[in-house]
């Protein structure tokens, strides 16, 4: 940092102290984020056999294959379908549940802990339960749907399309909507009651009050929620891998699963790294939007 002439000694000392204080963060950040990132880009330029991690330099061959092949584009499509689908449901369920919980105090304290349950449950446990619910032979879901009369034959939930996609989207929504509930509920509680009363007097009904008072107040928190969850859903791995393993065939194979398969089933570490780098570039778009949004809010 250059010493500007109008800086006082004290200001220079503070500047030095500042550098000292952020140094540990920079070091750790470099070790855990920058190094793996560079390593992945480096690996993507080689044709590497995973078990030995040996291979030759191939330049941009992996990327050429990625762009010209069908696999990447198909997985990108699957990933976007999954992300948009599950995120939409998360936000709708999350906001609806938050509105409900915000209404009554008695209801709130009990329900709040119940609502958080899926979020805290380990993914493996959650998936085991859902696989049992979805099972086409003895699953509870088919049983109930047949009892009620919605279907008259058991449905193959995870083994056929579009049921498998609907299945993962539903489980994803169930697992992650509590995050939306908590964030939205916290914001809802800070909306002054007087605004609703003023709107009532101004002649706004319940729906108008939601759109004219509640929603504008939720806008900033929803932007952050949607961007964060979009990034997290985009790279979701364990939930999908455990539920469908990417199947049937590759119908639910998201980019994260594609990277895994390429690296550890097909043993093509270099190609996998190329997929990972491409995936990261897509996520970069979300991240730039997120940083823009959160950055401008403070000024």
């Amino acid at each position: 940092m250059p010493n500007r002439p109008n800086q006082t000694t004290l200001e220079r000392q503070y500047a030095r102290l500042g550098i000292l204080l952020i140094a540990p963060t920079v070091v750790v950040f470099s070790a855990v984020i920058v190094y793996p990132l560079l390593a992945a880009i480096y690996l993507s330029l080689f044709s590497i056999y995973t078990p030995t991690l040996q291979g030759e330099f191939v330049g941009i061959d992996n990327y050429v294959k990625l762009l010209s092949g069908k696999l990447f584009w198909q997985s990108l499509g699957v990933t976007l379908t999954w992300t948009v689908g599950t995120l939409t449901l998360q936000v709708i369920f999350g906001v609806a549940m938050a509105l409900l919980l915000n209404r009554s105090f008695w209801f709130r304290s009990l329900a709040r802990s119940l609502v958080l349950f899926p979020y805290f449950l380990s993914t493996v446990v959650a998936v085991l339960v859902w696989r049992w619910l979805f099972n086409d032979l003895y699953g509870a879901l088919n049983h109930i749907l047949m009892r009620v009369g919605v279907i008259d034959m058991p449905l193959d939930w995870l083994g056929s399309m579009p049921n498998a996609m609907i299945g993962i989207i539903l489980v994803g929504a169930w697992k992650y909507f509590p995050f939306v509930v908590i964030a939205v509920l916290a914001r809802l509680q800070t909306i002054p009651e007087h605004l609703y009363e003023a709107a009532k007097i101004d002649g706004a009904g319940p729906i108008a009050r939601f759109f004219d008072v509640t929603l504008p107040q939720l806008r900033s928190v929803l932007t952050v929620i949607i961007l964060l969850r979009a990034i997290w859903d985009f790279k979701e791995f364990d939930l999908i891998y455990l539920l469908t393993g990417g199947g049937p065939v590759t119908s639910t194979q998201t980019l994260a699963l594609l990277v895994y398969k390429e690296a550890f089933s097909l043993n093509q570490m270099g190609q996998a790294a190329a997929y990972a780098v491409a995936m990261m570039l897509v996520m970069l778009v979300f991240m730039v939007v997120y940083i823009r949004r959160t950055g401008t809010k403070e000024t």
């Binding site: 002054p192 007087h194 605004l195 009363e197 003023a198 709107a199 009532k200 007097i201 101004d202 002649g203 706004a204 009904g205 108008a208 004219d212 008072v213 504008p216 107040q217 806008r219």
Partner: protein, 363 residues
Amino acid sequence: MADIELRNVRKAFINFVALEDLNLRIEDGEFVALLGPSGCGKSTTLRMLAGLEFPTDGEIRIGGKVVNDVAPGKRDIAMVFQSYALYPHMTVAQNIAYPLKKRGVDKAERDRKVERAAALLHLEPLLSRKPKQLSGGQQQRVALGRALVREPEVFLLDEPLSNLDAKLRSYMRIELIELHRQLGKTMVYVTHDQLEAMTMAHRIAVMNGGKLQQFDTPDAIYNRPANLFVADFIGTPSMNLMEGSLSGSNFTVGGQSVTIDRSRLKPETTDGAAVLGVRPEDIMLGDGTIDAVVELVENTGHEKIVALAVKGCDRILARAPSGSAITVGEAVKIGFDQTKTHLFEKDGEGRRLNLDQDHNSLP
């Protein structure tokens, strides 16, 4: 036509009775202040008029129609909140236009009305700002604008000036009086500031502990307080209240007695324990029969407030011209202006014992 009537209104919350048997009749076009100490039920009364709270018992009529079960938006009322409650994401113009929009007024008409309201309240240069970019006084005017743009028959205002500084408050007081004069609509104004109530309202409803104490003109409230509470609550410094006993035309306090004009008392008044009330300006220093000692002199600039110790009662406050030479520790004789003393029951509700018309009959 929008007169307001509350008949035997009672309001009980889960664990608290906020209002008991409230009866109030407000004429069309009248400016009425609800005045009382904190927690006496002023806001509750106003919120029931607005439809934000519902009476447990009794009847509320606006313009002759029972509105107990009518939603706030369907009553012909507008309300200004103490916190203003402006919609933070809307501009000033959008805030003012909102009640019109919700009532399906078309855009051109809306714009015209917003413009007119803005002109009335000097808001034109602020129309495209957000509430956050306004000062307290400006926000308050926007809240007023949102209330009056719809031209409702009744305005309800809950301490609209309490967030403003003293100077702006006295300015807005005059603006509000002027606004009421122009619009000629019924206004109900909640305040705990007696100066606001006294200067603005045609009539004041003084409340305490969920009960109406007196409902009358500022002049009557000041000069003929209906009971001890009103006597004590209205006026700064407040009325001197001396416990003693009445016997014929004599009122005895702490062994000293003063003469009372018995003809100014209600005929049914009986001798015995009573409370004599005298306003600080009705105490004559150096002219009377009661012995007092000057304890403290407060010079406010245009007058002096003199605190006097009198045997047998609490400290007595008197007003004196700022030029008067009074020194602390001095012994003085004091007397009361015979035509302006007040007598109250000592027990029960502390009702006024003077004849009601006595001040009107003064020369």
